[in-house]
């Protein structure tokens, strides 16, 4: 599984950061749900794959974690984006934006010729 989902993980990491940045501290389940909701259920992930990504992001210092109590009174680990995580996110977003711009241009090109 790790090998196969490497590319996926890259984008998943970005989604995690984006989610945490937008919504503040969340536990793992919350993050998974938010990602599903944001993608309007177009994206259905195995929730398990989320945890290696969280671990890696935490080891890299992009996010922080803390044990807390969830809305329905359950003990859960809450993740929070850090300053360097925000920087990371801005850079990655810009990267994505550029990539998708380029892709968009190519798509437009194709549209003309066909």
């Amino acid at each position: 599984m790790p090998e196969k989902s490497d590319v996926w993980q890259g984008t998943l990491a970005l989604m995690v950061l984006k989610t945490l940045n937008a919504l503040g501290p969340l536990h793992g389940y919350g993050i998974a749900r938010r990602i599903e909701q944001t993608s309007q259920n177009l994206l259905s992930i195995n929730h398990g794959t989320l945890y290696p990504v969280l671990l890696k992001l935490e080891q890299e210092g992009s996010i922080d974690s803390e044990w807390g109590i969830s809305d329905n009174n359950r003990k859960a680990k809450f993740y929070r984006i850090t300053k360097s995580g925000k920087k990371e996110l801005t850079a990655a977003e810009r990267e994505w934006q550029r990539a998708s711009d380029i892709m968009a241009r190519f798509s437009a090109l194709q549209g003309e010729s066909s």
């Binding site: 389940y29 398990g48 671990l55 680990k77």
Partner: protein, 890 residues
């Protein structure tokens, strides 16, 4: 950067124990999902199933998470180490013995290595030390080649003006001067240099300046540079020292510089004085050592060629053709050789010795490890049966021995730190570069390397032997119930044999040194009862007493005062005490009727003595008589010679009386009026010196040397009161009652001088003896250990034998025989090895050859007896076993 940070976190993660949090987190995730599912209308059972499905493979996730969280290989290594340490802790006795043994071995080796490193290996502490050379000549005198021929002042001038290969060049010698005017008068060690010497060393003064050419020229103010230690001791590190004057030999000299603390020289001089040569009137003696810094890329061979080119120039310019018969040649060598001197041999022998001790220590620990691993066979077999790989078990065994090695290394370093002080304290007085002997990075690296290497050494032996336990045999309990095959003992026995062999080599070495030392001690040095002869050195500088005749009168006055002290039997003075290697001087001495063709006669030891000296030192007069004071006052041309000098030249002591000799090839002839007994002036391990004795008075000018009186002389006093405080105080008062500006220096008994001359031998002896004793002890412990172990493994067999009626003595003999067999094989191998290795000791031996039969007979005997005793103890224990009890065990 990011990956670096991540790696660091993983490293930290390897040590933290937060694993449980992980499953808790995942658990809570699934619970939440389940709750949501229930809320969405699923039955609880189904809700949980769906939640798990949604999550994906929980266990594989946990595993992946665990791997990513830390560094798995590090964790297994730590687990191995933890396991090894835990199992070591379960047998503390084993661990203490092993660690102590190793600590002693590693500590001793490290201590000696730090001496070897500081003295022999480290580069000299001067900038670009490889370019520094000692400038020497070789000369042939009467067929004998001397490689340490000094230069004369005229050679210095020639080389300074004409050389093409020296960047800097200078000559120097050591001496002593009195410093007065600050506290009590004091005699200090001096380093006299021409201005090029400090430049060659290239070490800048801490404050002030080097000598310049001007300081070297007569007519300018005489200056002085202080060594750091003296500046600290005498001036408290006064920062305003520059320009202060110091009265050296009664002449005020302004201080122009202080050398830094790091600048150290052999002989520990305290002040540096300029050597001032008057080019119009150069002293003729070959009394100056040369030092040079070679120009970049100049080799020693090139420098030698350059020097040999200049020798004829010198002979031509200074009319020195008569020295042609000396066959002077250049013998330039790295300065390090001059600094280190002949101590290298002793140190390498010591290093080898200590290395052997370390090997024996390792063998002992290896043996312990084997025994222990043997006891763990069952455990290892079970682990293997449960699926532990061979690598895993090997790793754990290795981790345990490396851990032991590391502990031993730690203890060893502590020991080395302490031992180093002892070593330096008992080391030969002439041990050079003392201040450079420290435990530095290189020594530390050495200690770590040998600790790990030792750990690896006995670890690998154990691994080879035990990493693949024979599961079936062991688990069946075969090892417990059957006696062991011979093979099971083979590696232990081999180790014991090696230990005995190595111990034998060391014991033979120390045996040879003991025999040498005894032989040295039995040499009668030529003087008697040296412990009853008090000596002290007094120097009367020209600035205080200009007139040479007055010097003699002052010395006589002091002798009279000393003789008046209660309890003094006799006294006398001499410029160089017997066996005092630092104060001797030599000159060519002609015998009337020999070599009248103007060639240079043989160089002989020359000593100036006063009447009463021979009686005081206990040197017998074989023929003729002592000098009289009257002869000194009227300057009779008389002399005494040593017995061997008389025999060599005239065949017999009596025949020498009335014959005539003189110093060099000019000067007045002197009549031999007495023959004194031989004295081992160069040390008991050298043949007695050929000595001529001149009366201690103003000498007539000869060979271009103006008349002079010996100004720095040793006073010798024979008394039963030597060394007592009251006696020393009376001596000081007696001296100061004549001249209160004279520093009393080198207060020691003649016996101290005698002991000093033996110090190198006794040092080697002590070190070898300690090493030999440790080796013997470890070897014996090795034999004892192996046999006790064998006995304990064979208790059942012994029980059966005894039950079946074997006699106790037979059973005992069985074990003792085995011990003796091991010892004999070890002794045999050791003898062969010793015969090869002790040749290296040859230069340190005296009176015996390296194959001294007595040593070679006695040492194996001692070893075999010790081995027999070591085998008897476990054997006795074996037969004490009650057969009924042993057999009931099963």
């Amino acid at each position: 950067m990011k990956s670096l940070r991540r790696g660091w976190k993983r490293l930290l993660g390897s040590f933290s124990r937060e694993k449980s949090n992980m499953s808790e987190e995942l658990q809570s995730h699934i619970e939440m999902q389940t709750e949501d599912n229930v809320r969405a209308g699923m039955l609880p059972e189904e809700a949980r199933r769906q939640a798990r499905l949604k999550f994906g493979g929980l266990d594989s996730m946990k595993e992946y998470y665990r791997d990513q969280r830390g560094l798995p290989w590090l964790e297994t290594t730590f687990a191995d180490l933890r396991y090894a340490v835990r199992s070591l802790r379960k047998s503390p006795a084993f661990m203490i013995v092993a660690v102590l043994t190793l600590a002693i071995g590693i500590g001793a080796t490290t201590a000696v290595f730090s001496v070897v490193d500081g003295v022999l290996i480290k580069a000299l502490p001067y900038p670009d030390p490889d370019a520094l050379v000692g400038v020497w000549h070789s000369a042939v005198i009467q067929g004998e080649t001397f490689r340490n021929a000094n230069q004369s002042a005229s050679m210095y001038v020639t080389y300074l003006d004409n050389n093409r290969t020296f960047q800097e060049f200078g000559v120097w010698n050591n001496g002593a001067s009195s410093v007065t005017g600050i506290g009590e008068p004091e005699q200090v060690r001096t380093f006299r240099v021409t201005y090029g010497v400090l430049r060659a060393f290239g070490v800048q003064p801490a404050t002030g300046r080097w000598f310049s050419e001007a300081d070297d020229s007569p007519g300018t103010p005489e200056t002085v540079i202080l060594m750091y230690g003296y500046w600290q001791r005498r001036f408290g590190g006064d920062s305003q020292i520059l320009g202060r004057t110091v009265t050296v030999d009664s002449r005020p000299r302004p201080v122009i510089g202080v050398m830094p603390e790091t600048f150290q020289l052999n002989g520990n001089p305290e002040i540096i004085l300029p050597l001032r040569f008057d080019r119009g009137q150069l002293p003729p003696t070959f009394a100056y050592a040369g030092v040079a810094r070679l120009k970049p890329n100049v080799t020693i061979a090139q420098a030698n060629a350059d020097l040999e080119r200049m020798i004829p120039i010198w002979a031509e310019q200074f009319k020195m053709q008569r020295f042609a018969s000396l066959g002077l040649r250049a013998a330039i060598r790295p300065l390090k050789e001059d600094v280190v001197g002949d101590i290298a041999n002793v140190l390498w022998v010591l290093m080898g010795t200590i290395g052997i001790v370390l090997l024996i220590a390792c063998a002992n620990v290896a043996n312990l490890m084997l025994v222990r691993a043997d006891g763990r066979q069952q455990e290892l077999a079970i682990r293997t049966a449960l699926g532990a790989g061979r690598g895993r078990i090997a790793r754990e065994l290795l981790a345990g021995s490396l851990f032991l090695g590391a502990l031993g290394g730690l203890g060893g370093l502590a020991l080395a730190h302490a031992g180093l002080r002892v070593l330096v304290a008992i080391g030969p007085a002439n041990l050079p570069r003392l201040s450079e002997i420290t435990i530095d990075a290189r020594v530390l690296a050495f200690a770590i390397t040998i600790s790990l290497a030792s750990g690896l050494f006995f670890g690998v032996i154990t691994v080879i032997k035990f990493a693949r336990p024979r599961i079936a045999t062991v688990l069946r309990g075969g090892e417990r119930t059957a006696s062991q095959s011979r093979d099971r003992h083979r590696s232990q026995s081999t180790l014991v044999v090696v230990q005995v062999a190595l111990a034998l080599v060391l014991l033979v070495g120390s045996g040879l040194m003991i025999r040498s030392f005894k032989a040295l001690r039995s040499v009668h040095p030529g003087f008697s009862q040296p412990e009853r002869v008090q000596t002290l050195r007094l120097a009367i500088p020209p600035a205080q007493v200009a007139d040479a005749e007055a010097v003699t009168r002052m010395q006589k006055a002091i002798l009279d005062k000393l003789a008046a002290i209660p309890g003094v039997a006799s006294d006398g003075l001499i410029d160089g005490l017997p066996m005092d290697l630092g104060t001797q001087s030599s000159s060519p001495v002609s015998v009337e009727g020999q070599l009248d063709d103007g060639r240079l006669p043989a160089v002989r030891r020359v000593k100036f003595v006063s009447p009463g000296l021979f009686q005081t030192l206990g040197i017998p007069l074989i023929a003729g008589r002592d000098f009289t004071w009257n002869e000194i006052y009227v300057k009779s041309e008389v002399a005494l010679v040593s017995d061997n000098f008389a025999k060599q030249n005239w065949g017999d002591a009596r025949a020498a009386l009335g014959k005539r000799i003189r110093e060099g090839t000019g000067g007045p002839w002197r009549e031999v009026i007495g023959v004194a007994g031989n004295v081992y002036d160069n040390g008991a391990n050298q043949p007695p010196a050929f000595i001529v004795y001149w009366p201690a008075r103003v000498q007539s000018a000869s060979m271009g040397v103006p008349g002079y009186a010996p100004r720095s002389v040793a006073f010798a006093i024979r008394s039963d009161r030597t060394g007592t405080e009251s006696f020393l105080k009376q001596i000081q008062e007696a001296v100061w009652s004549v001249n209160s500006n004279l520093p009393v220096a080198q207060v020691q008994t003649l016996n101290d001088v005698y002991e000093q001359s033996m110090r190198q031998t006794s040092f080697t002896l002590i070190m070898l003896a300690i090493a030999g004793a440790v080796a013997l002890t470890l070897g014996i412990i090795g034999i004892y250990g192996v046999l006790s172990y064998a006995v304990s493994r064979r208790e059942r067999e012994i029980g059966i034998r005894l039950a079946l009626g074997a006699r106790q003595r037979e059973v005992e003999a069985m074990f003792v025989k085995r011990g003796l067999m091991l010892a004999s094989v070890g002794v045999g191998i050791g003898l062969v090895a010793a015969a090869g290795i002790t040749r290296l000791l040859s230069s340190l031996l005296f009176g015996i050859g390296p194959l001294d039969p007595i040593t070679y007979a006695a040492v194996p005997l001692v070893l075999v007896i010790a081995a027999a005793a070591a085998s008897y103890l476990p054997a006795r224990r074996a037969v004490r076993v009650d057969p009924a009890i042993t057999l009931r065990h099963e």
